[in-house]
Subunit: 193 residues, 2 copies
């Protein structure tokens, strides 16, 4: 059997596994290479530095959420209903990431602290999705705003309690779903008015 | 001249000063007593433990903001305009606390981490003020909600980016005033609709 080709995706998968096993303080590129049965030089051919590798694995982790949400943006249908689902799906995705594997979540929080740029791109991506949804709502006559991009940012900020990791500890609290509903309703009412 | 009476307020003032000078890790009740020229027993007659003293000084620091804001709640006038001023004043107060004396702010953040109950009471107090404003808006026919308390909490959550200390680093960013305006407008539109 020929050896599997060493793709960036395989390296990132192995990196996540190594991070999960050793934690962000101890995980090295040599550990990743060993897990893949290749030399560390082979890893460095795809990711020129350890920092670049860590940034790429963090971006991949964040992108999983963006990709899930982008499906809702490309669908047809009334924008208010899709925006509702989008906000709900964002909260769900973040809550699962924090709650299902708290150690991996803590690891990614450490990586995020190392490279702010990755998060900025993630936020830009999510705000762009929101802008598209709000523009759809405006052209359907359901939403009213002179600047969909400004309003998208306001919606993102106003719902921060339900997607910003600084609130992760609250997401398993009883009553959090009720709090989310109240904010989402207020935001949707603001957009419709 | 007779010695000044040792009041709780004087002890709390001295405690803040001692915390500012030595930091939360090193400040002791003995330091506070020394600053006041009294025995530490005299301090303990007012605050039974070091933890109680630290909690009281933190509550006092938070209450300064609540008291400022409560003036707006007791005024007459259209509720939307007062809610607007209330949210703006909350953001201003928090921003000043964080920006004018960053070391003292960091000290209080440490104290807050030690005693969650003080913050819970502060948030309850602010949400009660918001509830009163929203009830006023409902009786003026300006706001529409079946549950002012639920909506008050939603307004508080939706504006968290502009009062929750986990965002303090953002409050000196250019563009933050624009972001605040966008969220406040969205929230007010939601309440009016």
């Amino acid at each position: 059997m020929p050896p599997e080709t060493l793709t960036p995706e395989r390296i990132l998968e192995a990196t996540e596994e190594v991070l999960r096993r050793y934690g962000p303080a101890k995980a090295t590129v040599v550990d990743v290479a060993r897990a893949l049965g290749v030399s560390h030089g082979s890893v460095y051919r795809h990711f020129r530095t350890k920092a670049a590798l860590r940034e790429a694995v963090t971006a991949r982790w964040l992108d999983r959420t963006s990709r899930q949400l982008s499906v809702i943006v490309t669908e047809e249908g009334p924008a208010p209903e899709r925006l509702d689902r989008w906000l709900t799906a964002l909260f769900e995705a973040k809550r699962h990431k924090a709650g299902d594997d708290p150690e991996l979540f803590a690891t990614y929080m450490t990586l995020i602290g190392e490279s702010g740029g990755v998060v900025d791109r993630h936020v830009t991506d999510l705000e762009a999705q929101l802008t598209t949804l709000i523009e759809a709502g405006v052209s359907q006559g359901a939403f009213h705003t002179p600047s969909p991009a400004t309003t998208a940012r306001a919606v993102f900020d106003a719902t921060g309690r339900f997607h910003d990791p600084c609130y992760a500890a609250e997401w398993s609290r009883p009553g959090i779903a009720h709090d989310f509903d109240a904010v989402r309703d207020l935001v949707l009412r603001g957009l419709r008015s």
